[in-house]
């Protein structure tokens, strides 16, 4: 099981988000844009925020799943984070 070598940091205070069962919306303060995200993305962001806004892939996956994560789980988190990184909501830095 490979450990993720990346730290994910929530880009605050620039971004804010709210999360419901049916989805998640993120707000960019720099230009007022709104982004529609999946419920899963919302869940992950909420957990990341609860962890102080910063975590590595392994820790984040554990928190989200409330269980020991499999390799695939961490992969999924990674892919999600890359997409969120492209939007600027999350920063990806080598651990």
């Amino acid at each position: 099981m490979a450990e993720s070598g990346v730290t994910y940091t929530l880009n605050q205070p620039r971004f804010a988000f709210r999360h419901w069962d049916d989805g998640c919306v993120a707000h960019d303060e720099a230009d007022g844009s709104l982004y529609e995200l999946t419920p899963a993305a919302g869940l992950v962001l909420t957990e990341l925020q609860a962890m102080g806004g910063q975590a590595d892939g392994m820790a984040l996956a554990s928190k989200v799943l409330q269980a020991q994560p499999e390799h695939d789980d961490i992969q999924l988190i990674q892919e999600l984070m890359v997409q969120l990184g492209e939007l600027g909501i999350v920063r990806l830095e080598p651990a």
Binding site: A16, R18, W20, D22, G23, C24, V25, H27, L34
Partner: protein, 307 residues
């Protein structure tokens, strides 16, 4: 400061004052100073604002000072709107002067209302909870709004939801309901006793007319309201009645399309709208029969607690 009820004032008195130094009119939550030498403006004001107060003496703070002036352009009689020296619109035909006043006032309010988070939406209240009806033009919102008001719902506004960002409550700003084309005839039939204003034909929006705000709504214009529902209405000829819950995330995105000053409030504006969809019942609503629609709204109001 002697405030007089417009209904108790002869038209010619109002008209004379309007044409000379102008009049102050209380249009809660605003005070507006209006000047105009145009007859149809005086008539419209006299009929549509009958239940409201006016006075002539300087001494109070006026939120806006507006003027509707007659002009001649290549021999055609026109009118132009001015807000304290600014002229936001191109001149219109003289017959549209009252409509121009109303549009001008909308412009003033939407330009200077950033104290609130503002949405293009109708707002009405029943039993202590308000329904917000965001809708683009042509969705039948005005017909529904006027019918609800006549049916016993308090009108806060037919066009503008003003949300206080610090409390989440809605501030009323009831003004004559603007009607277009088909809805004019529909409401004339439905509500024959409700005064309607001067009709302006061939405007950019078609035929345009206004409907008076009822006494109850005016009397309670200082009472804010707690939002209870956000309902996206859509009139569709022949369609069966349908009230479908809508996802919160999706609703927030739809709502923000109608929130024209959201960016001014930054994150706080976002949070206010997010709170709004979280705490209210959010629905899509399709209807073709007004009476069915009213019954549906009655049922909603009768439910205990938020949906």
């Amino acid at each position: 400061m002697k405030r007089r009820l417009i209904a108790d004032t002869p038209l010619h008195t109002l008209q004379a004052q309007l044409a000379s130094a102008g009049v102050f009119v209380a249009m809660p939550p605003f005070v507006v100073h209006i000047r105009s030498g145009i007859a149809v403006v005086a008539e419209g004001l006299h009929r549509m604002y009958a239940g409201q107060h006016w006075w002539a003496e300087e001494g109070e703070f006026a939120d806006f000072r507006v003027e509707v002036r007659a002009r001649r352009r290549w021999l055609r009689p026109m009118c132009e709107f001015q807000a304290d020296g600014l002229q936001p619109f191109t001149p219109l035909a003289l017959g549209e002067a009252f409509a121009m006043l109303e549009w001008g006032l909308n412009w003033c309010i939407t330009g200077y209302c950033h104290h609130w988070l503002a949405l293009h939406a109708a707002v009405l209240e029943r039993g202590g909870r308000a329904v917000i009806l965001p809708a683009p033009p042509g969705s039948g919102k005005s017909t529904l709004c006027a019918s609800l008001m006549a049916h016993g719902w308090r009108l806060l506004s037919d066009e503008l939801a003003l949300i206080d960002p610090s409390t989440g409550l809605l501030t009323p700003c009831p003004r004559p309901i603007s009607l277009k084309n088909a809805s004019i005839d529909i409401l004339r039939q439905r509500l024959p006793h409700v005064p309607m204003g001067p009709v302006a034909h061939d405007t950019l929006k078609g035929t345009v007319c206004h409907l008076q705000v009822n006494a109850d709504s005016l009397a309670r214009a200082a009472e804010p309201a707690m939002p209870g529902w956000v309902i996206f209405p859509r009139y569709q000829s022949g369609a069966p009645l349908s009230l479908q819950p809508r996802g919160k995330a999706e609703a927030l995105l739809e709502l923000q399309r109608n929130a024209f000053n959201r960016h001014v409030h930054g994150h706080r504006g976002f949070e206010v709208l997010a709170d709004l969809v979280t705490r209210t019942g959010v629905y899509d609503f399709t209807y073709s029969q007004i009476d069915e629609a009213l019954a549906c709204f009655d049922a909603l109001a009768a439910e205990q607690g938020a949906a």
